[in-house]
């Protein structure tokens, strides 16, 4: 038994749901108790999906256990097919049903549905979410992909493999990489799982190569496509300027295209911004990186080679790709951290004393608690990781987004530092509104003495609003009607405690 307070990854059937939900015309019948339906809200609330995930849960109860849970499962398959008419039915068990050993695959086959039934065996007591997604995608590809039809065409075509529902910026990455490939002179044949139908998967081999955007999810399927149909594969996720250049060069090599025009005019501002003098303060700032392996390794490279920060920690919760993270950590001369216990990560962060943390939402919480600036680089996702605006991580546009999102909290950090005396910020106290929400004007009974107003002007402009508010709050709490210089410094002392 493993004591778990919080987990980076859900069970493997949630990974399967991320694949099924990303696709079209697929339905997943999951042998599971009612509580497991919580997983729906991850999609409808965090990702704000406008449809329920295509999942039917059998929701067996204790009273069914002695009886016919197998019959219940078969009925659920029939009902789901009748209602949703999918092209393919995925069937499997969650942790509880796995213990019942009802054999969903065999049972569903016996129902005799007119569509392919793909059984998923996802060992819940050994594996986790990303593995479940990878296995599901592999099973789908293996069951559906057909040999190439060999149609001739003007431009080479690639498949984009790996984007799923609840992925960290997957939707935007697909758009960014598609645009990048277009500039390079290549088309996207199928993007999968995101947006693909089973019929699309059948034609995967018609592309000239596979591009694995997220190895955690698509590496197994791409390897199988390589072995079965001799399809070349590019597994260099284009996250960051240098990685994007490497990616372009490799895709161009595989497809026989000329990378020079795109490389000559990348259209990214990040490299220049990093060189501009105002970025000097970034030099050598200590950064701690933790996330899924793909994003963590990419972040380490960007932080060091593209922003000039110093890496003081690198880790992942993805045990499947732990080897890659270890190798990267060794190359940077830091101790690799492979764990799924966030308290270990917190300990490592405290010990490394970073000035910037790049991690998942959990590291964001840890960093906030410790008062360290932080940017999110990886799943597990939160509603904030689905911004309304276009914000890819991949390609040159992604590199610009990353520059902004990482450097911004560092500036904020500078601000926080100046503000340590005015700690009564919303980050520390949720009863106060953040300063970017216009401060309410001081009540009429509260006046600023002229010298105090003068003194306030000496405080750097970007923290002045907060200083004013804090002083007024303080004055009100003491029942003062006139704010003097004395009161201003009393307030400062008060908030600095």
């Amino acid at each position: 038994m493993q004591l778990t307070l919080w987990t980076y990854e859900g069970p493997p059937h949630v990974g399967a749901m991320r694949v099924a939900t990303a696709m079209r015309n697929v339905h997943y019948v999951l042998h599971a108790p009612q509580g497991d339906t919580y997983a729906d809200l991850l999609f409808t609330m965090i990702e704000r999906r406008d449809r329920r995930p295509p999942v039917t849960y059998t929701t067996f109860q204790a009273r069914d256990l002695g009886g016919d849970t197998a019959g219940l499962f078969q009925q659920a398959c029939r009902d789901a097919y009748e209602r949703f008419r999918p092209e393919v039915l995925l069937v499997g068990a969650s942790c509880t049903a796995e213990l019942l050993q009802d054999d969903p695959g065999g049972l569903a086959a016996a129902v005799g549905l007119p569509v392919p039934v793909i059984p998923l065996e996802l060992p819940s007591y050994q594996r986790k979410e990303n593995w479940g997604a990878a296995e599901t995608f592999y099973r789908l590809v293996r069951a559906l992909a057909q040999p190439a039809a060999g149609t001739a065409r003007a431009r080479p075509r690639c498949n984009l493999l790996g984007p799923v529902a609840l992925g960290f910026r997957h939707r935007d990455d697909v758009a960014a990489v598609t645009a990048l490939l277009d500039r390079l002179g290549a088309d996207v044949h199928v993007t999968a799982p995101l947006g693909a139908s089973p019929a699309d998967l059948a034609t995967l081999a018609d592309a000239d190569c596979n591009i694995v955007l997220y190895p955690e999810i698509a590496a197994t399927a791409a390897q199988w496509l390589g072995r079965s149909f001799g399809m070349p594969c590019v597994t260099l996720p284009p996250i960051g300027v240098s990685a994007t250049r490497d990616f372009i060069a490799e895709v161009a090599r595989v497809l026989g295209l000329d990378p020079a025009p795109v490389l000559a005019d990348p259209g990214t501002r990040a490299p220049w911004y990093a060189r501009s003098v105002d970025s000097t303060y970034l030099t050598g700032k200590r950064v701690f990186v933790f996330g899924d392996a793909t994003h963590a390794i990419a972040a380490a490279r960007i932080a060091t080679a593209e922003l000039g920060l110093s890496l003081v920690g690198l880790g992942t919760y993805s045990r499947e790709l732990a080897r890659d993270v270890r190798a990267a950590a060794n190359a940077y001369g830091v101790e690799p951290l492979i764990t799924d216990d966030y308290l270990d990560v917190e300990k490592a962060i405290i010990a490394a004393q970073p000035e910037l943390v790049l991690g998942s939402q959990m590291e964001r919480h840890v960093a906030k608690r410790l008062g360290i600036p932080c940017a999110v680089i990886s799943a597990p996702v939160h509603v904030q990781d689905f911004p309304a605006r276009f914000s890819p991580q991949m390609g040159f546009e992604g590199a610009d987004v990353i520059f902004d999102t990482w450097v911004h909290p560092l500036m904020m950090g500078l601000e926080e530092h100046l503000l340590s005396m005015f700690r009564d910020d919303f980050e520390f106290n949720d009863s106060a509104a953040p300063s970017h929400i216009a401060a309410a004007p001081a009540p009429a009974t509260l006046a600023w003495a002229a010298e105090a107003e003068q003194e306030l002007k000496k405080i750097p402009f970007f923290v002045r609003g907060k200083a004013r508010r804090n002083t007024e709050t303080f004055a009100q709490s003491r029942g003062l009607s006139l704010i003097t210089v004395e009161a201003l410094y009393d307030a400062k002392a008060h908030f600095a405690r």
Binding site: P33, R51, S94
Partner: protein, 431 residues
């Protein structure tokens, strides 16, 4: 189950005099879209401030609780999951030894914990891990510092709020005995609501009041033949039974939702304690008036609007009663995971005839009914809310009704506001 749909017609015919007391109930057994009882941990751990909830379950259970709780800013939460692993199942490790060592490590790290709940899950029940024996064993070894109890929050045994019921029932078995004549209010309430009720009971003249669950493990109330208990929540069937087996008597009442509900709830207690009606009116008049004024503000928005309840918390019937009688809403379907006839008798009598009462669920069929009815407001779980909004139906997430203080006079307006807000919002948005 197909035939069951025809019952809709029958429902409209149902007797008017007794509200919904004799209304037929549509029983459905299909896919249920509800949480399991583990979810109760999210509010129970906040209520009992020195208790720790250790789920013995799978990664799914751990993921459910953290998802239901949302990403919370906690240093270290007072709940966790002992995740059963392959080696536990394969018999390579003795599950009981494993559990003891997990608990040992936990208590060593969290010395402030006074009460530990071992919470059973579907996997622990299917593999027949006996948590009540484990709790007794651990209680002996950790006494007197920590008391260890167990209950089931599993999805095969419990639906959403039934987890609280199971937890409180486990507590009842552990309560000291008294013969004193006291009032016991049962069901987790927000501290602010509890304090309001304490003041009201004192004003009415009932000074000896206890609340279950208490805020701290040391404050467990005593029960016995003199105990009169008043349910503050409609989902406490097992807890009530456990209290009755300890000799306590249930005071039948509607639930304290809305001005009317709160008054009737308090009145039931006052009558049981032989307090004159005049004294009750004197003690509650001002607050009740305040509540009615607060409700009036929302009436314009809610009156005449049709509301549809998906089954979730068992609060559906009392809520429908409140919304129908005090705000003039028209319930179309009132779905509940479990309809406890005895505990809801007063509620059903008050609920105006008309709505379809349904128990259990077949979610796809119920969605069909909801789409066909096109209610003005749909009360449902988080998995259904955005999809229904995308179809143009306004929704209210039911889980908020458990996380927000809604009981009592001072919260009546807030409760109405929870239902009015989605409608107000639609009027405001021009995009």
């Amino acid at each position: 189950m197909n035939g069951a749909l025809h019952e809709v017609g029958a429902v409209q015919e149902a007797g008017h005099a007794a509200g919904c007391a004799d209304a037929p109930v549509l029983r459905q057994r299909g896919q249920r879209e509800v949480f399991c009882g583990l979810t109760g941990i999210v509010w129970l751990h906040r209520k009992i401030q020195d208790a720790f909830f250790l789920v013995v379950g799978s990664r799914t259970c751990a993921h459910l609780i953290q998802s239901a709780a949302g990403v919370m800013i906690f240093a270290e939460p007072r709940f966790a999951t002992a995740i059963i692993e392959e080696r536990d199942l394969a018999g390579l490790a003795d599950a009981n030894d494993e559990l003891d060592s997990v608990v040992g490590r936990l208590i060593a790290r969290r010395p402030e914990i006074k009460l530990l709940f071992l919470v059973g899950s579907c996997p622990s029940e299917v593999i027949k891990l006996d948590l009540s024996r484990a709790a007794q064993r651990l209680s002996r070894s950790l006494a007197p510092a920590v008391r260890v109890l167990s209950y089931s929050g599993s999805g095969i045994e419990t639906t959403f709020t039934q987890g609280e019921d199971a937890c409180l029932a486990a507590l009842v078995a552990d309560l000291p005995t008294t013969r004193a004549r006291r009032l016991l209010v049962v069901g987790a309430l927000a501290d602010v609501v509890e304090d309001q009720f304490r003041r009201l009971f004192a004003a009415i003249g009932i000074a000896d009041v206890d609340f279950l669950p208490p805020r701290r493990a040391a404050d467990l109330p005593a029960v016995g033949a003199g105990t009169m208990f008043l349910l503050a929540q409609p989902f406490l069937a097992d807890t009530a039974r456990a209290l009755e087996s300890r000799g306590a008597t249930r005071i039948a009442a509607p639930f304290p939702l809305g001005a009317e509900g709160t008054t009737l709830w308090l009145r039931a207690a006052a009558e049981a304690f032989g307090i004159a009606p005049a004294r009750l009116r004197e003690a509650t008049g001002i607050a009740e008036h305040r509540a009615r004024t607060a409700l009036a503000r929302h009436k314009a928005m809610l009156a005449g609007k049709r509301i549809f309840f998906f089954p979730d918390s068992q609060l559906e019937v009392p809520l429908a009663r409140f919304l129908a009688r005090e705000l003039g809403m028209r319930p179309v379907e009132v779905g509940t995971p479990y309809l406890h006839r005895a505990h809801l008798a007063e509620e059903l009598a008050l609920l105006p005839a008309g709505p379809l009462l349904s128990e259990g669920q077949d979610v796809d069929r119920q969605l069909d009914r909801c789409r066909a009815a096109r209610p003005d407001l749909t009360v449902c779980g988080l998995g259904l809310a955005n999809p229904l909004e995308a179809e143009g139906l306004a929704t209210k997430w039911s889980i908020e009704l458990l996380f927000t203080p809604i009981q009592g006079y001072e919260q009546a307006g807030d409760l109405a506001d929870l239902f009015a807000r989605p409608l107000v919002r639609r009027l405001k948005l021009a995009v």
